[in-house]
């Protein structure tokens, strides 16, 4: 078991907050570090993804072929939630999994190797970026909307049967909250008091379909009432508010009191997948100014928690780790075509 975010130290409050002065500096720096690492990671993937798709753009070409769903802008959700987890806890992510994988402490080498389709990858190159399975961090994901929720229940079920205080975090987008699996999972987890934290990332869009076109009510957090569990919506992509809400939800789950639902209003900074020109998106021009990372950086600088030096150090460390992972992936062997039919059965 690895604790992958600094845990609140001598905080005077049980919420990780140092009194009214805000969160513990160590926690804040941890959140910032996680977000920077995730963004740095995705910028590198973006670079590698587009490096050799030409001439023109051929989605099947290059070192990283296939669909690529990046999570830039959504880092506050993963950072805020995973700060309360250890690698003994399970996380089930979506088609857009990198920020949660990074925040949950997945080995970057093996993750990147998977994204590059290498034999050293988490799935020996069989899975790809939507299918990251890591027993070491109980991490998994699924490319089918909302269908990552049900297996998370089973992990929670196994944990509670073994009387551990491990929990499962299950993530979807707001578009997924209109899928049947969402409903079934919340009811079953609530009824069986399973240690699950359900997270909905509301980035306003499901590919090109705006949330309000798809969803009958403004906040999915209100859907928690349909299952008798707490529901909370975090506005404004606020990483510390996510941290707080997740702390309550995680504590509740660990205590055996059952699931909670957290919806975070977040931001998809880039296209749904790479290559998406987003012609359908009227607010596109304003997106960059809402980037949550510079904003949080400013806040921490203003609060005296971070200075130029620390920021540079954090960025440099992130960059080094990421480039190291990319290099590992690139230097790893491709799978052998002769093994293409292996691993169907255990």
């Amino acid at each position: 078991m690895t604790t992958h975010a600094p845990s609140p130290t001598s905080s005077t409050s049980s919420t990780g907050r140092a009194g009214s002065a805000g969160l513990d500096p160590a926690v804040r720096i941890g959140l910032y570090e996680t977000m920077v690492l995730s963004r740095t990671y995705e910028e590198a993937i973006l670079r590698e993804y587009h490096a050799d798709k030409g001439p023109g753009f051929d989605i099947g070409k290059g070192l990283v072929p296939g669909e690529m769903h990046l999570s830039a802008g959504q880092e506050p959700v993963a950072a805020g939630v995973c700060a309360h987890l250890t690698t003994d806890d399970a996380v089930t992510a979506t088609h857009r999994p990198h920020h949660f994988a990074v925040a949950h402490g997945m080995d970057l080498h093996r993750m990147t190797a998977e994204i590059f389709g290498r034999e050293t990858g988490l799935g020996r190159g069989r899975g790809g970026h939507m299918h990251l399975f890591d027993p070491a961090t109980h991490f998994s994901c699924s490319g089918i909307i909302a269908e990552g929720y049900p297996p998370a229940l089973g992990q929670a079920f196994a944990f509670s049967r073994r009387d551990t205080d491990q929990i499962a975090v299950a993530v979807t987008g707001e578009g997924a909250a209109n899928q049947g699996a969402f409903h079934e999972s919340l009811n079953l987890a609530a009824r069986w008091t399973l240690p699950v934290v359900f997270v909905v990332e509301d980035n306003d869009w499901a590919i090109s379909v705006p949330r309000d076109v798809a969803t009958a009510i403004p906040s999915n957090a209100d859907r928690a009432a349909a299952y008798g569990i707490p529901g909370e919506r975090i506005e404004d992509n606020d990483v510390e508010a996510v941290y707080d809400a997740a702390q309550r939800a995680v504590a509740r789950a660990r205590a055996g009191d059952g699931p909670s639902l957290i919806e975070v209003h977040t931001l998809r900074m880039w296209g749904h997948f790479e290559g998406d020109a987003q012609g359908y998106r009227p607010e596109l021009a304003e997106v960059p100014e809402h980037d949550p990372i510079p904003r949080y950086e400013r806040l921490l600088r203003d609060a005296g928690v971070l200075d130029e030096d620390a920021v540079s150090r954090i960025r440099a460390t992130a960059s080094e780790r990421v480039e190291d992972a990319i290099a590992f992936a690139k230097n790893s062997p491709l799978p052998d075509a002769a093994t293409a039919t292996s691993y169907v059965f255990a």
């Binding site: 190159g125 299918h131 089973g154 992990q155 196994a158 079934e184 009811n187 691993y343 169907v344 059965f345």
Partner: protein, 347 residues
């Protein structure tokens, strides 16, 4: 006079059991052996399974291991998957195979694919049980076999026992298998007191541990003139037909595939090499399914072994009708099997 089956009060001394009791025996033995085995599904607790797949287990193992679920197949099959990923060995019941449509994603895109997508790093040792088959006028949404659909989609083993001993042995094997196994039991072979059944739905069942290896067909009846390849309830119809025709000097071999995935292609080839004549009997839909696969198995090996056109007896690509006369017209009943055998022998 009730659909609710009654649990056997004590260990039977007579080892002739119904298929359902043999299946339950295997589950109970494995639950005794391995505390990580649980059984989840609708009406598997107090009711004991609509088709007596869990009769008596609640009393024996209690509600923490024999667990009634909401009617949320996607959620609870997915729950089984996650529990298996974490090392448990859940058995999850989908009451009727016909209901796969509300939960197939968990089954075929998750249960069946996670092991592969993880490059072999994650195993999903779970069993998905479901009832299949018609013959009692339950209509188009409650009478399907659908094993062809499950067998077509890679990553799950598919077993289809036809008799009590195999029901026990394949259940034991399925629970112990590290891969997901779909275990499809035909209502007509369970030996239910409230449904017409073939006499062979009660039979000798080995005591204690009994394992039937997954992927191995059985020669249900040896013969020399014609091979009938089939599974599940149709095995019994085929045996009945074979007995009848033996009086006329037609000696049919009946192959009970028992597993569709992996498919015992060697058993099919060996039998057809001997007889040169092939009838495939399948209670699932005719086209794009099991019958075609069995035929292709032979002719991609060697078409010259066939002395006559193959015969397929299956549901002719029509939903299962309600009215008895119509249902019996589309099911692979003994009359249709007999006619096919006569054709292939004459041809």
């Amino acid at each position: 006079m009730t659909i609710t089956d009654t649990p056997t009060a004590s260990t039977p001394t007579n080892r002739r059991l119904t298929t359902s009791k043999a299946m339950v025996e295997a589950i109970a033995q494995e639950m005794d052996r391995d505390p990580s085995v649980v059984y989840l599904g609708e009406d598997v607790g107090a009711y004991g399974g609509i088709f007596s797949s869990t009769t008596g287990l609640l009393d024996r193992f209690g509600p923490t291991r024999i667990i009634d679920t909401p009617i949320s197949e996607t959620a609870f099959i997915g729950l089984g998957i996650g529990a298996a990923v974490e090392g448990m060995r859940p058995i999850v019941e989908l009451m009727f195979a016909d209901f796969m449509g509300v939960c197939l994603d968990q089954i075929y895109n998750h249960m069946a694919k996670i092991h592969f997508e993880s490059g072999g790093n994650v195993a999903v040792p779970m069993v998905l049980t479901c009832a299949v088959g018609g013959g009692y006028s339950d209509g188009a949404q409650h009478s399907q076999c659908l094993w062809g659909t499950f067998a077509h989609l890679p990553g799950m083993k598919v077993v289809v026992p036809s008799n009590p001993a195999d029901a026990k042995g394949l259940m034991t094997a399925a629970i112990r298998d590290d891969s997901p196994v779909v275990y499809m039991f035909h209502k007509g072979v369970m030996g239910l007191p409230w449904m017409a059944k073939n006499a062979r739905s009660i039979g000798d069942v080995p005591d204690g541990e009994h394992v039937v290896p997954i992927g191995r067909a059985a020669v249900a009846r040896a013969g020399t003139d014609v091979t009938i390849v089939t599974v599940s309830l149709s095995v019994h119809h085929a045996l009945d037909v074979a007995e009848k025709l033996s009086g006329e000097g037609i000696d049919a071999e009946v192959i009970d595939l028992r597993s569709l995935v992996p498919l015992d292609r060697e058993a099919i080839l060996a039998s057809v090499a001997k007889t040169g004549r092939l009838v495939v009997v399948d209670e699932d839909y005719l086209s794009f399914g099991m019958s075609g696969e069995v035929v292709a198995t032979v002719v991609e090996h060697d078409p010259t072994v066939l002395k006559a056109p193959v015969q397929r007896v299956a549901v002719p690509d029509v939903p299962i009708p309600y009215a008895h006369v119509l249902e019996y017209a589309v099911l692979p009943r003994p009359e249709r099997i007999e006619a096919a055998v006569r054709r292939v022998v004459a041809g």
